[in-house]
């Protein structure tokens, strides 16, 4: 029998969640800003450069005015790492949801969560199954948030490919971006999940977006080249930078299947981690 966690622990988790959301919504991680600056310097078209200049000006303004980077403050996806001393319980998930409610009021965030059928808005960015929380064992208790806007999320795709189609993965990734065009606010960052199961691939594609975009493997670069060769450019107005980076996660899968998921992320790759102290 495990007793419910200390109320002070729950309050600390709530506080950490709200603070991580505030930070993610207002300040972009330095690796993403650096990638945007490098992209601006590479662009030769006046329109493409102008779009990235607007983005960089927007990032500076959001930080100095302490307002959200984008009006689509997204829906929060939360990743917890739990040390052995903290068991995962409903109390902890409730504390995370309370942090989302607090951030929605205080940052403030746009209330985006609705019932999928009635479309009724819950008003506080929580609801049945929301926020989505992924928990993993870890050394320390930490809360990582990834607020995900709809413009890019809506262009994401999963494919159950044939096991013999490994060489067609770059085609599927590029095709996803081709279909998306300017809609997901390029330059995008692509999270790609390869292997596992149908559900694992989608979750891994999203988790790949938590990785710094400074470094890429040769395979990730190959995928990036295929995407940038489309010349869709910033905001679909043409240019060299359709994507800033591609990040891949792989897992073992059934010998008869090859799940592949592409999670599209706009340039505003908002992520923040706060360690919980109590």
């Amino acid at each position: 029998m495990i007793s419910p966690p200390d109320p002070a622990l729950c309050e600390a988790i709530t506080r950490a969640t709200a603070r991580a959301l505030e930070q993610a919504e207002i300040t972009l991680p330095p690796d993403v800003v650096r990638a945007l600056e490098a992209a601006r310097d590479r662009e030769t078209s006046g329109i493409a450069r102008g779009e990235i200049e607007n983005i960089l000006a927007n990032i500076r303004l959001a930080e100095s005015l302490r307002v959200p980077i984008c009006q689509d403050t997204g829906i929060p996806v939360v990743y917890l790492t739990l040390p052995p001393s903290v068991p995962l319980s409903q109390h902890i998930l409730d504390a995370v949801a309370e942090g989302v409610r607090r951030a929605t009021r205080e940052v403030p965030l746009r209330p985006n969560v609705v019932d999928p059928l009635t479309r009724e808005n819950t008003g506080d960015n929580t609801g049945p199954g929301m926020p989505v929380v992924h928990a993993r064992p870890g050394e320390k208790l930490s809360v990582t948030v990834l607020p995900k806007g709809a413009g890019s999320e809506n262009m994401s795709r999963v494919a159950m490919m044939l096991p013999t189609e490994v060489e067609n993965i770059p085609r599927f990734v590029a095709e996803t971006v081709l279909i998306a065009g300017g809609k997901p606010c390029p330059p995008v960052i692509l999270g790609v999940g390869i292997g596992g199961t149908f559900d694992w691939a989608a979750a891994a594609a999203k988790e790949a977006l938590l990785e710094p975009i400074d470094a890429m493997s040769p395979y990730e670069r190959e995928l990036l080249d295929a995407v940038n060769d489309l010349c869709i450019g910033p905001m679909g107005l043409g240019g060299k930078t359709t994507a800033l980076a591609v990040k891949v996660k792989t897992a073992g899968c059934h010998t008869a299947s090859l799940p592949v998921a592409v999670n599209v992320q706009c340039w505003a790759c908002r992520r923040a981690t706060v360690e919980v102290e109590w």
Partner: protein, 188 residues
């Protein structure tokens, strides 16, 4: 880079604009998303649409102020924009471009102006909230009347039917087919 400064109410000057031109927009704009378009189509437009600019946007509004107001995906309003153009709207502002039918409906009378997606703080810093219509639709879907000060935009579709996005998409499809010439069907 020369920039053309536009101010509402818009008139014949927009006919001179060409796809790719850099412009700024000042004056009054009205935000509208999916639900606001349906309400305006069914129940009437609550403001004077003559020479007006419609901004596809669902802002964050707090304490009577616009906090964050970047553009939303304009293509969702493809089938909902004709009646506004018929009533005298001269500019649609948003991101991602619009369908061919909208480009045809705009021919000789209106333009599509692209704003950088996600640039919500930049947009809000150039905006003053005047009033709100259809408040019952909720924060993201209500129609806000906003006083705008020099928002930097690119002409995406001009009144002659030239469409920057269409050209980029056509080129992207050609490049895709060239690179992946395996005999499989191409989705779009």
């Amino acid at each position: 880079m020369s920039v053309i400064h536009l101010c509402t109410p818009l008139s014949h000057e927009i006919l001179m604009l060409r796809a790719g031109d850099h412009v700024t927009l000042s004056g009054t704009v009205y935000t509208a998303r999916d639900e606001a378009h349906v309400r305006m189509r069914d129940e009437g437009i609550p403001f004077d649409p003559h020479g007006a600019a419609i901004y596809h946007c669902g802002p964050v509004v707090h304490g009577g102020k616009i906090i964050a107001a970047g553009p939303t995906t304009s293509a969702r309003m493809n089938s909902l924009s004709g009646f506004l153009l018929d009533r005298g709207v001269r500019a649609l502002v948003g991101k991602g471009g619009m369908g061919r039918q909208v480009a045809e409906q705009m021919r000789g009378r209106a333009v599509y102006l692209a704003f950088t997606g996600g640039c919500a703080a930049l947009a809000a810093s150039r905006m003053t909230l005047r009033r709100v219509y259809f408040e019952d639709l909720g924060m993201a879907e209500a129609v806000y009347e906003i006083d705008l000060d020099h928002l930097p935009l690119v002409v995406g579709i001009d009144a002659a039917g030239n469409d920057l996005f269409e050209g980029v998409n056509r080129n992207a499809l050609a490049r895709f087919k060239k690179r992946f010439s395996t005999p499989r069907e191409v989705a779009p």
